[in-house]
């Protein structure tokens, strides 16, 4: 008979990818390592505070009480790339900023993810034509996992992107044979 150890446990435990079985003298968990690792990774994504322009304000809105991204576990925004899991690249990247973005990405520990927020980071957006200094899409510099269109995208769109990233993480394989590289997934 399968039942949870503690019926009054928080609802999140129900999303746990596995079975918790009762046994005399304790319980045991039946699951695969991949599932457990992905489950814990996807539910504690720590974003890097990286806002260059307008989209950063909408990112702040997503962190504020009305949209409240901490409901999904994204609220631990870090100022240091060493402690972050995901770059929410909020705003235009120009040629002078491009090496800084690359360096920040390189400084992050694996596994790392990139969300391209807004038209500027996807393709240059409003600055696609006639601009001499804007990088036409950050996928020229770093691999991007999720793109959000909009100028700037609404906070709901950012939440959707982060949830999409969670789903993507849940599907990835961590087995030793496959070298972990987000570019291949």
């Amino acid at each position: 008979m399968i039942e949870t150890i503690n019926p009054s446990a928080p609802a999140e435990i129900k999303d746990f990818p596995g079975e918790i079985k009762q046994w005399p003298g304790g319980g045991f968990v039946l699951s695969s390592v991949d599932n457990v690792i992905n489950w814990s990774r996807s539910n504690s994504l720590w974003p890097l505070v990286f806002g260059t322009s307008c989209c950063a304000i909408e990112m702040m809105s997503a962190a504020s009480a009305k949209y409240d991204w901490s409901r999904f576990g994204f609220e631990v925004a870090r100022a240091s790339p060493r402690q972050a899991d995901v770059i929410i690249c909020a705003g235009t990247i120009v040629y002078k900023m491009a090496p800084v973005l690359k360096r920040l990405y390189d400084q992050m520990a694996d596994p790392k993810y990139v969300i391209a927020t807004g038209a500027c980071t996807i393709s240059g957006g409003p600055f696609f034509y006639n601009s001499y200094s804007v990088v036409r899409g950050i996928d020229h510099i770093v691999p991007v996992d999720v793109y959000i269109p909009g100028c700037p995208p609404r906070p709901e769109a950012l939440l959707h992107a982060l949830i999409t990233l969670q789903k993507k993480i849940m599907l990835q394989s961590n087995s030793a044979k496959k070298e972990f590289d987000i570019r291949r997934s």
Binding site: V49, I57, S64, T92, F127, N130
Partner: protein, 377 residues
Amino acid sequence: MSLLDGLVTEASAITEDEMIINIGPQHPSTHGVLHLKVKLQGETILDVEPHLGYIHRSIEKMCEASSYRNFIYLTSRMDYLSAHMNNQACSMAVEMGLQVEVPQRAKVIRILMSELTRLASHTLWWGAMGLDLGAITPFFIGFRDREEIMDIFEETCGARLTMNYNVPGGVMIDLHSNFQKRVKTFLDNFKKHLPEYDELLTGNIIFQNRTKGVGFLSTADAISFGCSGPVARGSGVSCDVRKWYPYDGYEAVEFNECIETSGDCYARYMVRMKEMVESAKILEHWIDQIPEGDFQAKTKNVIKLPKGEFYSRVETARGELGVYIISDGTANPYRIKFRSPNFSNLSALKQMAVGGKIGDLVAIMATLDLVIPDLDR
């Protein structure tokens, strides 16, 4: 050659007990991508050197390739926290060239939207200032009120941040039928919330110790560095464009120019707090007095300005924004120059910070309220 060539200063330029610290371009207290090279002796600041250009998007050059209708939309991406005022300054410059009289209704709509934008900008600044000084609650309190304004914008303009509501000759569409009701509800809530603002930061002894007497800027320096907006008014300079060069119906608006004379971070903070009260008063007075009529004057589809130079200025939430257009008589501007308030305000940073501690630099940056894309354009 390293990737960040130029970011690190040669060790030979400093003596043994001095050090150089690079703050930014990715640092939360710079409010964007500003890079400050700070020379320190212990904790005391000897020199500050801002490095710009990390978000230079060539907006001025792009404007030369756009028509007089289209270049306005680029300018909401400059100072995105005062997007409406940026659009307004550009529209006014084009209207000046076209010699178009803006309908009375459009003028009042512009005033209302400007003051709402100012409130939205100042509430965000207040929250960010709390964050910079180590308090996280102000951020949530500030955004609670800001989101209400964003909803009002969204209903009328269709966008939350970059509104693009101004067009040459007036505003793009008429006000939403809910506008008056929602603004009144917002004002009621905001007036109830304002005492919370004072309780959390203004009267807080830690906050006062960190801001009073910190980052002093004298009146003479504020004038000579070309500061404007709350930064200059905190040093006792009367420079409100709305008072001195009234535009778009501001001559009929009664409000007080908020001036403090002590010139420190606390003075600049108080100027903005008082401005919020004044903006709320203006809104309260004009929300019931929106005249009937057209919201847009008739203009041609393809706007061609006569040969000449046109300059308009508005008071954004950060200071005086000037738009300077040189026209050669064609459908595209020959040259556009923006006089951004942030650039001049930042130039006074060294004056304020040198001699202080590095912790004070964060407080000074917070009261400067910089928007870096406006600075770099």
